[in-house]
């Protein structure tokens, strides 16, 4: 039987694998996921329709009910595929920031798009989720990209943990209950 002198090295490797596995399993408990992403181009306008599975973890729900505002950054990037995706070029980009809050006085949920003045009120969270789950975007493509043979659309909704109250941030970084981000990539249609 061969005895490893540096057994502690093996232990460290096993520990690192364990941590990695934990992170992967945490990532699997994602509360947001992309159901469908469809798009079409007409007159240099790319219209993107997304359908998301949008829920909140119990922790996030409790935080929301406790008056903490939750923020999501929505980003769509359209790229022209070049040289086997190694040299892609961005031909359109769109960014929106949404917030979801609970109003105690009116007992309603409010969704606000930073790009638009005012907010939408929803009497239930499900209604607010329905609204957030169906996002539509219109992007104007660069003029020299109309003839692009293949484009790739990256859709990314990122939960902004830095907007959480300071005490909550360290927990949000290490807890799977705060994995409220998702993304999708659609290529060459």
């Amino acid at each position: 039987m061969r005895v490893y002198r540096n057994a502690y090295k093996i232990n460290i490797i096993v520990l690192l694998f364990g941590l990695l596995f934990t992170q992967i399993s945490n990532a699997a408990d994602n509360w947001l996921s992309v159901k469908t992403v469809s798009w079409d181009i007409e007159n240099s306008i790319l219209r993107l329709q997304t359908k998301l599975h949008f829920t909140l973890s119990p922790d996030a729900h409790e935080a929301l009910r406790s008056g903490i505002v939750l923020y999501w950054d929505s980003e769509v990037t359209v790229s022209e595929v070049r040289f086997f995706s190694l040299w892609n070029r961005s031909i359109a980009k769109y960014y929106e920031r949404y917030s979801l809050s609970y109003n105690t006085l009116f007992n309603d949920y409010r969704v606000k798009n930073d790009a638009i003045a005012g907010y939408r009120r929803f009497s239930s969270l499900v209604d607010a989720f329905d609204y957030l789950a169906s996002l539509h975007y219109e992007l104007t493509l660069l003029p020299d990209s109309y003839d692009a043979k293949c484009i790739v659309v990256d859709f990314n909704i990122r939960f902004d943990k830095e907007s959480l109250p300071i005490p909550l941030r360290p927990i949000a970084y290490f807890s799977a209950n705060w994995n409220l981000s998702t993304n999708a990539r659609v290529k060459c249609e």
Partner: protein, 713 residues
């Protein structure tokens, strides 16, 4: 080139980093701080700094353990000091940490007690109740207004809106058709032509015949929206919006804000604890690690001169005194290094002096040893237990034993198996044991070379402090000296005899012969015969005396003038032929070839041979055989010619064998007893020896050794 950061700067940098980190962390924890957005980054950077410090401490600890295993100088002291540092910093820091954590948790928990929670709920409920009351009152007011419009025409109602709005103190009144179209509108602001709030979502409710009232917000200002049916032809609806008084609005906002804030804080209670604990732990960890790092750095600084000292001590132990330690500090350790350097210099000087002394002692010892070795006297030294300590070569020769084999052993061991030495030991041992003064004894010793007379002088040895440390015995072989003294005495006797006796002998003989000549014819025949016989006797005795005096004369003769190379083989043949002529005597000569010559007086050596042959012939009165052996031998690297003469006579009484070479000692009835004495004297004058061969038992045997002439080249 290795850059060394001074200890003070390193410590200051580290402490500065810790304080900056603490300050930034505490600032970032405050919600309103501009650093709050950097909280995560600060947390990350501090965590990385902690890991770096941890690695630093780990590396230092590993290095220390390795030094400890290698038993390097100062490693154990470093370990102790570092452990002391750790304990001294960890104990108070741990205590402070524990109580800070307790205080923090209790403080946070103190913010959220049941009373405050209930008060907040009550405040919110009060706010809601107040608003509800207002809403209900506004609904009732709207219904009363609607009743006032009942029965009026559409035009009358439209025209009366402004007045009703003013009476009702409403901000807006809108008359709506059943389809929701705006029929008439009256607003507080004259320029407004459309209502502030949409009514479409409420129409389903109003169509079912239910009046609607709700609290709404227009530009973050609370209003009450009411929608009631008025009974005008075809059915119309009236939307009235009442403003909430500013005071109530502010209070409601305040209560809501406080409630939401409280809810948020309640929710964050656990997170706050975790976050504060995390920061506190991080601060503690950083502080501890920093203090441990400083401990390692400072210990290195403290230990450096000690390590130098240990290295210096090892160098001194290895015998290197030349290199002095550098004095880098002016503190106690610097003083210690200075003292060490001074001590090393003193030791170095002492060592040099000691070396010189040892060298001198060694030279003296070598000189003494050479002196002792060159002495013919035997010197024996004894330790305090009277065991043999030292002996010189002379002792080996005199005692015929390798005395060095008996170093550390007693004198009795020397005599074991050597019966001839027992007599000597029996005399010396009591003298050594008892005598504390210088003593002297003459001791006769029988050795394989014959009887020797030793002059033994002993003296006890005392150290400079006066303690007894042993004894020394000097043995002088005075046999030759005694013999020489005897020879000299005999020579003097012989010379006087020759002078005093020989001179009157001739006149006596001549006078006697003259008396015979004168009186022979004058006396009677009988008297004449008496005279003749007497005169003959006188003449014979005179002749005998002359013969004896001649022998004495020969014996007394000192020195040999006619020394030359003598072929002993030829001489033996020459002398042997004379005695071989006697029919009763048979002479047998056994000789080796190439016998070297000897340097001698031919006449004297012939005299010796004659004496020995004559002695042998006289010993074999009835005849016999004389065997002569001539050999060349090497003794103690000196070449000798060995001549042995054996007869088959009566032999020598072993009891008297010791004195046969003494003058005037003879076993025979005739002769002067000077034959062997003369032979011995002549042989010794030629640097040779003559002795009785005691191993020969068939008669007498004599062995003569004469130094051979060595031909160089």
């Amino acid at each position: 080139m290795r850059i060394r950061i001074p200890f003070g700067i390193s410590a200051l940098l580290l402490l500065g980093f810790i304080f900056l980190s603490l300050q930034l962390m505490s600032t970032a924890l405050q919600e309103a701080s501009p650093l709050s957005g950097m909280y995560s980054w600060l947390l990350l950077s501090n965590s990385i700094a902690t890991i770096i410090l941890l690695l630093l401490v780990g590396i230092n600890a590993f290095s220390l353990i390795r030094r400890l295993k290698n038993k390097e100088a100062g490693s154990r002291l470093s370990t102790r000091i570092v452990l002391l540092f750790i304990v001294l910093s960890m104990v108070p820091a741990g205590v402070v940490f524990y109580y800070s954590l307790q205080f923090l948790n209790q403080s946070i928990d103190g913010w959220f007690n049941v009373e405050i929670d209930a008060a907040m709920d009550d405040a919110l409920e009060l706010s809601h109740a107040s608003l509800d009351q207002r809403i209900r009152w506004n609904l009732k007011q709207s219904q009363q207004i609607a009743e006032r419009f009942n029965g009026q025409t559409l035009a009358e109602a439209s025209l009366g809106l402004d007045r009703v709005r003013e009476i009702a103190d409403a901000s807006e009144i809108t008359l709506l058709s059943r389809k929701g179209d705006i029929v008439a509108f009256s607003g507080l602001i004259a320029s407004d032509i459309l209502p502030s709030l949409p009514v479409t979502p409420l129409f389903l409710q109003i169509l079912q015949g239910k009046d609607h009232v709700a609290l709404e917000s227009i530009n973050d200002v609370l209003v009450v929206q009411s929608l009631v049916t008025i009974k005008i032809d075809g059915g119309y609806y009236l939307q009235i919006i009442y403003p909430i008084p500013e005071r109530i609005n502010d209070l409601t906002d305040s209560v809501e804000f406080a409630y939401v804030r409280f809810q948020e804080m309640t929710y964050l209670r656990h997170s706050l604890k975790v976050s504060f604990s995390l920061v506190l732990s991080l601060v503690l960890l950083v502080s501890l690690l920093a203090s441990i790092s400083i401990a390692f750095i400072s210990v290195r600084e403290i230990i450096a001169p000690i390590r130098e000292l240990v290295r210096g001590t090892q160098a001194v132990a290895a015998g290197f005194y030349e290199e002095l330690l550098p004095v880098k500090r002016q503190d106690d350790l610097g003083f210690l290094v200075e003292s060490f350097n001074e001590m090393v210099q003193q030791i170095s000087r002492a060592r040099d002096e000691s070396r010189l002394s040892a060298l001198e002692i060694e030279q003296q010892r070598a000189y003494l040893e050479a002196l002792l070795s060159s002495l013919t006297s035997g010197v024996l030294s004894f330790d305090a237990n009277l065991n043999i300590h030292k002996a010189n070569h002379g002792a080996n020769i005199i005692l015929h034993v390798q005395v060095m084999r008996y170093f550390g052993r007693g004198l009795n061991d020397l005599a074991q198996g050597r019966s001839d030495l027992q007599h000597l030991v029996d005399i010396l041992q009591p003298l050594l044991e008892k005598s504390d003064e210088i003593w002297q004894r003459n001791i006769m010793l029988d050795t394989p070379d014959g009887r020797k007379e030793l002059l033994c002088q002993g003296s006890p040895l005392f150290s400079t402090e006066g303690g007894y440390i042993g004894a020394v015995v000097v043995l002088d072989d005075i046999t030759d000296l005694i013999q020489a003294q005897k020879n000299a005495a005999w020579a003097e006797v012989a010379r006087r005899l020759a002078h005093e006796i020989k001179n009157p002998l001739t006149p006596i003989q001549l006078t006697a012969e003259r008396l015979q000549h004168k009186l022979k014819d004058k006396l009677q025949e009988e008297d004449a015969q008496l005279l003749i016989r007497s005169i003959r006797t006188i003449v014979q005795q005179v002749e005998a005396l002359k013969f004896m005096v001649d022998d004495f004369s020969v014996y007394a003769q000192s020195g040999r003038d006619k020394v030359g190379r003598v072929d002993l083989q030829s001489l033996v043949h020459e002398v042997a032929s004379l005695y071989d002529a006697d029919p009763k005597i048979n002479v047998l000569i056994q000789e080796e070839s190439n016998i070297p010559t000897v340097s001698a007086d031919l006449v004297a050596i012939r005299q010796v041979l004659h004496n020995l042959f004559k002695n042998a012939g006289e010993a074999m009165d009835g005849g016999g055989q004389i065997t002569v052996k001539v050999q060349s031998i090497l003794l103690a690297k000196v070449r000798y010619v060995r001549l042995a003469i054996y007869d088959t006579g009566c032999g020598v009484d072993i009891a008297r064998a010791k004195e046969i070479f003494e003058p005037y000692v003879s076993h025979k009835t005739k002769g002067t007893g000077l034959g062997l004495a003369i032979a011995k004297k002549i042989i010794e004058e030629h640097g040779g020896t003559i002795r009785l061969d005691s191993s020969y038992k068939e008669g007498a045997g004599f062995i003569v050794l004469l130094p051979a002439v060595v031909h160089l080249g």
